[in-house]
Amino acid sequence: MKFSILVNEGPYTHEASDTAYQFVKAALAKGHAIYRVFFYHDGVNNGTRLTIPPQDDRNIVKRWSDLAAQHKLDLVVCIAAAQRRGLLDANEAKRNGKDADNIAPGFRISGLGQLIEAGIQADRLVVFGG
């Protein structure tokens, strides 16, 4: 089956990102496909490359980036939610006159339409939130 995933909360504060990650890994292990993982609300914070988590605990952002690279996952961060929360790629930073960008590898910024499309194209959409 094709799954789309919605992650509504940021890393560490809620378990949502962890549960979503483990679900995606399990789905891939079972031979299913992941159409898209969409990050909304504070979930956009899963896409910042500036986290420095403690060495003895999981690196949530990095493992999403790594999983995306390994399985060619489409990790999408909502542009509206990202702008509110200060998550930018180089383009967005330039477009909006900001002096830095912070998006992590493997993530891309796009519109809410990508979430709706993810729901249309997948067999199942699963929401992980707080």
């Binding site: 609300h41 339409g113 979430l115 709706i116 499309e117 729901g119 959409l125 939130g129």
Partner: protein, 127 residues
């Protein structure tokens, strides 16, 4: 279950709203998804359950908070062909509210009816 649209068979999308407005962003950002989603010609319904019914109350005046009042946006939903708004009757009653207190026309439904509506959906978005 699913209806034919130009682009193929439309899916039934349900947006479930359980949170009050302003205390958290979920109500506002959920509405933003509904507005963008309207362009995709799917079969859209909104469910207001528990504190979600507070999103629809009349008389929201946010000047003192200095935050945007987004309740007028619910009135614009009709222009986007989003007309299926279901409000849980028990949630209204528990909060001392009636349909007359709400800012848009809705269908007030029992828990059983709401359960049926939910069961028939293809994609359920919770926030």
């Amino acid at each position: 279950m699913a209806e034919e649209t130009e682009g193929g068979v439309a899916k039934k999308f349900l947006y479930v709203n359980r949170k009050a407005p302003y205390g958290t962003i979920y109500a506002l950002e959920s509405l933003e998804v509904v507005l963008i989603g309207a362009a995709f010609d799917q079969d859209v319904s909104l469910a207001f359950v528990g504190d979600g019914v507070y999103q629809l109350t009349k008389g929201q005046d946010t000047k003192g908070l200095e935050v945007k009042n987004f309740s007028p946006t619910f009135r614009a939903l009709e222009d986007y062909d989003v007309t299926k708004l279901y409000v849980e009757q028990a949630a209204l009653q528990a909060r001392g509210l009636s349909e007359a207190d709400l800012v848009v026309p809705v269908e007030v439904v029992s828990a059983e009816r709401m359960a049926e509506i939910m069961e028939g959906q293809d994609v359920i978005l919770s926030f």
